[in-house]
């Protein structure tokens, strides 16, 4: 206790906080401040006001982009969590060799360059892409399907494909840590495979599920590369809107305000995810 506020401790704490303050907190603070400024004649006017936020709240165009983005992120999160669970459950309890191979099979697409994954999916879905030309040459369709690319559906599909490893892996890794003893106990007490799943595996792998949903939601809600590259004019999202403010539209303060909105959404998702990851029985034991 005596050393609690000793000079050395104080100095060390100050150093650590200072490093991170400069590197991380200061830029975020500057960015937050900008969201209260405004543009006039392509110059940033450093006068504090809520004008950007008022514009955000009142303009239905922004509101609809916001709602559209949330909806998109929720859909992707839901689809990928379900698919992630199905794949993880299928990978579970395999023989050792297969087990390694399966982990690797999920890790490779995870590690693969983000831009290249988008490129590959775009190519696959594109008007001249393989899916269309295959369907055409097989005579299933007469003309290439235009609707596969450059719309919201394309954004959804690409997000799902690109993010899938991020839901499979955390779920699979927590599933692996569920002691097989508990599964045996449940079977011994009369539980069917389905009952074992819902009463033992699913609740015990909840932290992994929370991790998967949080990662996926945060990524899907904030991404702008995928909508930019496969979304076309219809696939407009919050991320893209922010990006435009720093490019063509050139309104940094408004862009900052939009990004603050994104931060609020993200942090809400993270806090909810944390609660899910720490269910009551774990909090009580802590």
């Amino acid at each position: 206790m005596s050393g609690r506020f000793s000079g050395a401790t104080l100095a060390k704490s100050a150093l650590a906080v200072a490093i991170l303050g400069v590197l991380i907190v200061l830029p975020l603070a500057v960015f937050l401040a900008h969201s209260f400024y405004r543009m006039e004649d392509r110059e940033i006017v450093r006068a504090f006001s809520f004008a950007n936020y008022a514009e955000l709240a009142s303009n239905p165009a922004y509101r609809s982009v916001f709602v559209q983005t949330l909806w998109l992120a929720l859909q992707v999160t839901f689809i990928n969590t379900v698919v992630g669970w199905i794949v993880a459950r299928a990978m579970w309890r395999r023989r050792q060799r297969l087990h390694f191979a399966l982990i690797l099979a999920v890790a490779v697409p995870l590690l693969l360059s983000y831009v290249i994954k988008i490129y590959a999916v775009r190519m696959f879905l594109g008007v001249n892409g393989l899916l269309n030309s295959t369907l055409t040459s097989l005579g299933i369709i007469d003309e290439p399907l235009g609707f596969l690319l450059f719309n919201m559906a394309a954004v959804r599909i690409t997000l799902c494909v690109v993010l899938l490893p991020y839901s499979i892996l955390p779920i699979f890794l927590t599933l692996e840590r569920v002691p097989s003893r508990l599964v045996q106990a449940a079977e011994d007490l009369g539980a069917s495979a389905t009952q074992v799943f819902w009463t033992v595996l699913f609740p015990l792998a909840l932290p992994g599920t929370a991790m998967a949903t949080t990662l996926t939601f945060v990524f899907a809600a904030g991404d702008f590369l995928i909508p930019e590259l496969v979304g076309g004019p219809n696939g407009f999202t919050l991320g893209r809107l922010i990006f435009t403010q720093f490019g063509l539209a050139y309104n940094w303060p408004f862009g900052a305000a939009l990004a603050v909105l994104l931060v609020v959404v993200t942090l809400t998702a993270v806090v909810l995810g944390q609660r899910l990851a720490q269910p009551r029985w774990q909090r009580q034991n802590a």
Binding site: Q184, A185, L189, V200, N285
Partner: protein, 364 residues
């Protein structure tokens, strides 16, 4: 009999863990499977429970072959060594798991669980989580979780090995009482022979995937059928001997310590000339204090070591006729006695013919 294992063999990756093992479990008994670590005890329980599948042989329950039924459909429940309580469920939810899975309605379930918890002296603990309980309490939750399903057999895999000595004694008494009052058949696994003797109606001694002997604790202790059982069931003094002659109720033996006489037990199948191992428990060896000892089985020995053990003392005897042979003797209270006896620490020890057991010298 309620359950019969009929020449059951279990092979794991070409390694035979159980070799044509046969075993009958009687209705309502407390049967203990006793054996050293790695002898296949857990495997036997897992085969019965359906957690593992046997390679060959039959598993008969009330005469029906249940060998291919999944674990969930067998009327047995297991108390696992590490309890295997569900950490994410309260004590009440753990105990009520079986009935809930089978679709019992909430109200019946609630009162049933309440009753079950009272029965294991955990009334009012229902809302806690397993992590908030002590080892002994978790043990009792595991027991209640098994008993609530009214299984035909409860299988217990070394349930007490994680507990400290005092708690262990308490739980032995508790388990035994629970078995008596419920009338359910218990198949209990342990590697601790004292525990086995204290709790069981019958003991099945296992070694290397085989049954060495099956019998009451007294039979197993006093009438071991082979060297493994006699040495595994507590301390024993062994002596190689040859059967010299057999009459109605006595076996005369030749040994390095001279001629000895053993009471003939009905199951002995020795013929004169057979090599045997004579076993005498340390507490059955008497010291001749007043010179009134009988003439049979008298041994002159020297005390080479003594250890005070509290309620009794252990003396180690050596014999002039046999180098390297040491016997242990338990003396009650009068452990100072040998100091006064004979010249140069010599004592006369003896044992009654009915207090020794013969096992074949060869074999396990």
């Amino acid at each position: 009999m309620v359950l019969r294992l009929d020449r059951v063999t279990k092979v794991y990756n070409q390694f035979t863990v159980l070799q044509e093992l046969s075993l009958d479990v009687r209705r309502g008994e407390f049967l203990t499977i006793l054996g050293p670590s790695g002898s296949g005890k857990t495997t036997v329980l897992q085969l019965i429970a359906g957690i593992a599948q046997h390679t060959s042989g039959r598993l008969l329950f009330n005469g029906k072959d249940i060998g291919r039924l999944p674990a969930s459909q067998r009327p047995f429940n297991t108390v696992f060594q590490d309890y295997a309580l569900f950490p994410h469920m309260t004590v009440a939810d753990n105990v009520g798991y079986g009935p809930r899975i089978k679709g019992m309605n909430r109200r019946d379930l609630l009162s049933l669980v309440e009753q079950a918890l009272e029965h294991v002296e955990l009334g009012g603990m229902g809302k806690r989580y397993p992590a908030q309980l002590s080892g002994g309490q978790r043990q009792r939750v595991a027991l209640a979780r098994a008993l609530i399903n009214k299984p035909s057999i409860v299988l217990l895999d070394e349930p007490l090995s994680a507990l400290d000595a005092v708690l262990r004694r308490q739980m032995q008494v508790f388990l035994k009482a629970a078995q008596r009052s419920s009338g359910v058949t218990f198949v209990f696994v342990t590697h601790d022979q004292e525990e086995a003797v204290a709790m069981s109606d019958r003991i099945c001694v296992m070694n290397g995937g085989r049954v060495e002997q099956l019998g009451t604790p007294a039979q197993i202790y006093h009438e071991p059928s082979n060297r493994f059982v006699s040495s595994f069931m507590g301390e024993t003094n062994a002596l190689s001997a040859i059967v010299w002659s057999i009459d109605n109720d006595r076996v005369v033996l030749r040994s390095a310590l001279g001629d000895l006489i053993a009471y003939k037990r009905p199951y002995y199948a020795f013929v004169p000339g057979a090599e045997v191992l004579l076993n005498v428990r340390p507490e059955s060896v008497q010291l001749d204090v007043s010179g009134g000892a009988p003439n049979t089985n008298r041994l002159v020995a020297k005390v080479v070591d003594r250890a005070f053990l509290g309620p009794n003392s252990k003396l180690t005897l050596a014999f002039p006729q046999a180098q390297n042979l040491h016997w242990d003797v338990r003396t009650l209270g009068n452990h100072e006695l040998p100091a006064a006896a004979g010249k140069a620490g010599e004592v006369t020890a003896w044992f009654r013919p009915e207090d020794c057991a013969l096992v074949p010298a060869s074999g396990s």
